[in-house]
Structure formats: C-alpha cells, structure tokens
C-alpha cells in the first residue's frame, strides 16, 4: 500500500510529516528528496514540522528518581534465602566470574586504547554526512559532491546526518574570493564573523533550514560543511577548510562540494 506524503493542495499531510519524522525508512529516497525540497520552500509545512517537534519535546518526561521498593516480609524472607543459597555457591562461581571479568576488561582496554584520548570521536564512517541538492526549476537533484553544473538563480539546499550533537557552520566561497555563510545565515547588517549553530544528533537526514541562490559571478562555487564538537566562528576556520584541520584545536569533520557555474544558461528560477 503506497500512501502519498502530500495533500491535494500540495502540502505535506499530517501523516506524511509523521512518516518522514518517525519512520523515514518507509519513505523512498525520491519522495524524501521531494519532501525535503518542499519543506525548504514552504513556510506552512516547515511550521507544521516545527510544531510536531516542539510537541514531541514537550512530551519528554524527566527521568524518574529510583525509589527503593518496599517488599513485604514474606518476600524479604524468600529473597534472603535465595541470597544465602547463592552465597554458598560463590566459591565455585568465583573463579568463573573472575575469569570473565579479566576477559571483559582485557577486551575493553583493547577497544578503548587510543593514542589521542581527548579526541572527540563519533562512531562509524558516516558519523557526519553532508549532501547538497540543487533546485533548478525541474526536479531537485542531489549532488554527489563531484563538480556539478549550475546556473545563476539555481538554489542549493543542504541535508545532513550526524551521529552526535555538535556545531555546524556551512560556508561558501567563489573563485573571486568572496566568502559567505550559508548556514547559519547572517543578517546583512550584522558585521563580524558568523557563529556556528548547535545541532542535535540527526539519525535521519535533516534538511538544514537555509538555502542559497547562485549569483552570476563567473567561476566555480565551493561550499564546505564544518561540523565540530564545540562552538566556533567563521573567523576560526582556516583559509583552506577542505584541506587538513578546518578549525585549529578541535577535531572537526569537514565535507566539501564544488559547482561549475554556467553563465550561458541564464536564470532558470525566479528570484526567491
């Protein structure tokens, strides 16, 4: 049974948002991409999604304090008898337990020994993923980080996943040396470096609430997503973030993409 994500007006349904949020594995990649792109451009659906997440956050209960259980006397007696019986077997079990404990700690030590113990690490090769998608008036295209032809007016959006919470800054720059912040986006009147934005762990692809439109400056456009354990600003980012450590003093992950801008195609989308 295949139920769509959109209503008759082209907005995401309540069920569609639920499925994208709670069971993304049941939604195919193409539908997810279309939905992500819609969310990028639709305030109504973005508001509904924010409301959904706020509602869920409000429902999270604080952890309950553990309280000692009050056992009735017969139960205490029975438990006491079982504890005594267990203690009598301890000398026999002791050797086995000691061996198991030694083996356990040996394995743990082998796994956790690290030459840089203070390094911030997240598990797996895909601890932080970054994808750019381009909307050029047709179907949104998810790029593969290879050089990708774009035209002035095309918009790019970003989808990330992260296995741990951290701080994200997405920077863009062109061949003319003009640098700009894609996320978080800064008010045009605000001077100074852009600060990274804290993000939660994102197990399923999360559409970054920011999009950029390509201008008509000739040359290539580059974009770098920098994900660090602690806060930082664009001023902390090295001049070549895609090479080596993007932020000194932090174990950051950086993902980069470049786009070939084709000026001969002219704007394909109306200005946002």
């Amino acid at each position: 049974m295949n139920i769509g994500l959109f209503d008759r007006d082209g907005h995401l349904t309540e069920l569609g948002l639920d499925r994208l949020t709670y069971e993304p594995s049941t939604v195919n990649a193409e539908s997810t991409l279309v939905a992500d792109n819609h969310l990028l451009n639709c305030n109504i659906c973005r508001g509904a999604l924010a409301q959904l997440k706020d509602g869920d956050a409000a429902m999270v209960l604080p952890p309950r304090k553990a309280t000692p259980a009050a056992l009735p006397q017969p139960a205490k007696d029975a438990l006491g008898a079982r504890v005594l019986a267990f203690r009598r077997r301890l000398p026999v079990l002791g050797g086995i337990v000691a061996l198991a404990a030694v083996a356990f700690f040996a394995v743990r030590l082998t796994q956790t020994t690290d030459p840089t113990p203070n390094e911030w690490r997240i598990k797996g090769d895909n601890a932080f993923t970054f994808n750019v998608y381009i909307h050029n008036g047709d179907t949104p295209v998810l790029t593969t980080h290879a050089a990708f032809p774009v035209a002035p007016g095309d918009r790019m959006g970003f989808v990330v996943t992260a296995d741990a919470p951290g701080h994200l800054l997405i920077l863009g720059w062109d061949d003319q040396g003009h640098t700009y912040s894609c996320f978080p986006q800064q008010d045009g009147l605000t001077a100074g470096p852009t600060s990274s934005a804290p993000i939660e762990a994102q197990a399923s692809p999360w559409t970054v609430p920011a999009a950029m439109a390509f201008d008509d400056v000739p040359g290539r456009e580059h974009v770098a997503a920098i994900f660090c354990p602690g806060p930082f600003t664009s001023a902390d980012v090295s001049s070549a973030p895609c090479e080596g450590l993007p932020v000194a003093g932090q174990a950051c992950v950086v993902k980069c993409a470049s786009f070939d801008k084709r000026l001969d195609q002219g704007p394909r989308l109306e200005a946002p």
Partner: protein, 154 residues
C-alpha cells in the same frame, strides 16, 4: 504522534484516553497487521477511527464538537467552505448515521488527503471513495439548500 492526532479531535484528557485505547487495540490486533501499510499509517488510521467513535458515543458530543473540533481545525474552517460546512454542520449528523462516511469525510475535508490515499488507507478502491464523497457532497449541498430556503446560515 498518536497523542497529537488525538488532540486534534478531543480535549487533552480525551486524547490521553484514546492513546491508551489505541495501544490496547494494537496489542489485541497486532496479528491482523499485514504490513501492507507502514506502522505509522496503521496507528494513524486506528487513532482517527477511535477519535471519531469517541465523538460519536460521547454524551458530551455536541459540546466537544462545538468547543474543541472547530478550534482544532481552524485552518480548515478558514480555507475551504465545503470542509467548514462538513465540520461545523454535517460532521455530527454523519458520525451518527454512517461512521465510515464520517471517516472518509474527515480524511478528505480535514486532512486534505487524495481519494487514492484514502482508498489505500481504508482498503477500498479509489472509485468507492469517490462515490462516498459524492454522497457526502450531496448531503452538504442539501444542507446548504435547506439553510438558504430558511433564509439563514445553514
């Protein structure tokens, strides 16, 4: 998700009751779940049905609909007059007369789902949904005509 859906139809205490009912129903009927739909779709359908049943059976039904329903669907009331008439005037009547029609009307007018999606969700054909909606539209039209004949708001 279940609680949020319940709150669209019912006041908070009623929504919490429905939350419990939904999961009791899930435990009872898990064997019937054929994995043709996603779990969220299944929960969504059960929750909607139980909310409508509760509205139908409640002795405070009129009050619930008057106080809670229209405010919960305020967006729908503003955006679509047929949906507004269905919700304000027809819902109560249809709920009593034909629970399945009320379910289809709710999914169509309130949730804005397509006939194909409603059919897939309820396990009936697209055509059946269209026919049921045509009947609902006839009821709404008759209601509007009756209101006009009396010279007032239906």
């Amino acid at each position: 998700m279940v609680l949020r859906r319940g709150r669209r139809f019912l006041p908070p205490d009623g929504a919490e009751d429905v939350l419990h009912e939904v999961f009791i129903r899930v435990l009872e009927r898990y064997g019937e779940f054929r994995h043709q739909a996603s779990p969220a779709t299944w929960l969504f359908t059960i929750t909607t049905r139980l909310c409508l049943n509760r509205l139908r059976d409640s002795r405070r039904q009129g009050q619930l609909l008057a106080e809670h329903g229209p405010t919960a669907f305020a967006q729908c009331l503003e955006s679509n007059s047929e949906a507004a008439i269905f919700l304000k005037e027809i819902w109560r009547f249809v709920l009593q007369e034909d629970a399945e029609l009320a379910m289809i009307g709710t999914l169509y007018h309130i949730d804005g789902m397509t006939t194909a999606d409603i059919g897939a969700m309820l396990g009936v054909s697209d055509r059946t949904v269209a026919n049921r909606l045509a009947r609902l539209t006839a009821i709404i039209s008759a209601h509007v005509a009756a209101g006009s004949a009396h010279g007032g708001t239906p």
